[in-house]
Symmetry: C2
Subunit: 333 residues, 2 copies
């Protein structure tokens, strides 16, 4: 055995609405073994845990056995750090409050940390991604929805109940667009998500007289991917859709900056693929709404973690973070 093979390892599990990915990761962020199972295929959480064990345990043995594993870090929608439960996650097959942490601990006989997927991503960025060395930053996922993780003074903000960081649900346009999931009006997510971009497209096609490639697509098939493709072909209306979306995102970011004054805001998710088409209006409208002491200071970065790996790395990083918090004091003294 080489000395590097004796390093402690962590397991990262990213529980998503469709699939669940997992990996065994070393401290440097190398994914040594990885796999995935279906989430959607399991109506009962017990059968999900059983299949996870069957797929993951052989990897643990390949990695040197459970003795080398420091713990399991898990990210899941609506995951609560304090209670290690998943609470009322609309996109998962299991309803109500699921004691996921306890279930994993009992099955694997390893310590488990659980948080929501966006928080896991933030820790992943801090340890292996664009936020390395930063103590104050915010990560925002612009995907089907808008997720976020906030780090201040080197630690995730969990809030008194473990639910802090729901920035996608902050209201940007009072009495603005209706959000079907939350029944609120004008939230960031209702505009700056894939779903939001689709709705903006339908609205703009109706209001504007402008020629557009998007007019050739049946409304039911219009999605943010089609808008991206049209924009890449130079379609003006598609570019205006990004402009509009970026402006709203920029306004929201200005408010986030005036809350926690982060060194950087790190964006990831599908919408960031449009690059400057969305980033330019985002930056400009953020700066326009910031008071002077914050202007020209805050970087907006795109995550450079591989998307498939980011989730696993983020979840595994929770384990190192857990151990830092518990064991760091004696080292410091």
């Amino acid at each position: 055995m080489t000395s590097s093979s004796l390093q402690p390892l962590a397991i990262g599990i990213d529980i998503g609405g469709t699939g669940t990915k997992f990996g065994i990761v070393d401290r440097s962020g190398n994914i040594l073994f990885a796999g995935s199972i279906s989430t959607r295929g399991h109506n009962e959480v017990d059968s999900f845990i059983d299949e996870l064990y069957k797929s993951l345990y052989p990897l643990i043995q390949k990695a040197g056995g459970p003795g080398r594993i420091v713990g399991i870090g898990s990210g899941a929608p609506n995951g609560n750090f304090y209670t290690k439960t998943i609470e009322y996650a609309p996109n998962l097959p299991w309803k109500g409050i699921i004691p996921m942490g306890k279930l994993l601990e009992n099955k694997f006989n390893l310590p488990v940390v659980l948080t929501n997927d966006a928080n896991a991503a933030a820790i992943g960025e801090m340890m292996y991604g664009a936020a390395q060395g930063m103590k104050d930053f915010i990560t925002i996922t612009l995907g089907t929805g808008v997720g976020s993780g906030i780090v201040a003074n080197g630690h995730l903000i969990y809030g008194h109940d473990g639910f802090a960081g729901e920035l996608g649900h902050t209201i940007v346009i009072p009495n603005g667009r209706f959000h079907e999931g939350t029944e609120k009006y004008g939230s960031l997510e209702s505009y700056a998500s894939a779903t939001g971009v689709r709705l903006t497209t339908l609205e703009m096609l109706e209001k504007s007289k402008e020629e557009s490639l998007l007019r050739n697509i049946p409304p039911a098939q219009l999605d943010s991917k089609k808008v991206y493709e049209a924009a890449m072909k130079g379609d003006r209306l598609a570019k205006e859709i990004y402009e509009f979306t970026g402006k709203i995102l920029g306004l929201a970011l200005a408010n986030f900056v005036m809350f926690s004054s982060p060194e950087a805001i790190i964006l990831f998710g599908g919408l960031t693929k449009a690059g400057d088409l969305i980033l330019k209006p985002t930056r400009e409208n953020m700066e326009a709404n910031l008071i002077k002491i914050f202007q020209n200071k805050i970087r907006i970065l795109i995550s450079h973690l591989k998307e498939a790996d980011a989730a696993i790395l983020g979840a595994s990083a929770l384990v190192w973070d857990m151990n830092m918090q518990e064991y760091s004091s004696p080292l410091k003294v």
Copy 2:
């Protein structure tokens, strides 16, 4: 000497635009000696420091000499925790960047902590006020302007540059009311401050045909105190002004809650005197804009610290907080 008189003491200094208050405080929050000098009377910061020393040093001697003082805590507008400087404070007589921490340290030969006045108030609330025992809360001052301090996981959020927590400048109504100081549109401060209430009053008097006691007052003399007095006499328009202000405040609070999920939001400053006239619409519109996981959980409290004492207590509490952060690790191990 009794044993209690051997307790360590801290000095709290609250530097305001008009006057500067100071006190010598014990760990239980008793102000043993107190005094004040004019801020406005000193165009040069050196002469300010000289007068402060002349007034404060005799109190230090009465309290048992500098040996009993652990440090000086100071709150000031635009005070920066990291650099101990006051930067471009529009309401102070000294322009540019003032090395206030250094000046105080040199003059008094004691360690100095400095932060902005709203952060000092937040620590004061945590140690002696409505936030005792809380680890996650936000304090908001509704005064001439809107100040704020954010505590997450037991610590103030300073941000990467020491300027976090400018919640008064977050945009609530995009393209809304112009703020002369910041030149931004639609910030919380432009509505939910004494200045904002005055502007709302002028707007409503013009738009509405309703009879009101406020119509008897020359516009130049209309201020938030007059609105309060009219509301107390049952004036309907005055009540509508609070209703409008409360709604905007409530919307802003909902966004703050979805950021850091505090256990409570603690309000102080002149506008809170209107009690339920402003608090009821604030609570209702906060709840209406919160997603379900946050509803009916967050308390809105009014600070019960005496206003004259709160500033001194808050500033002195910075000293205990400084010492907790520096010396707590060995005790924990």
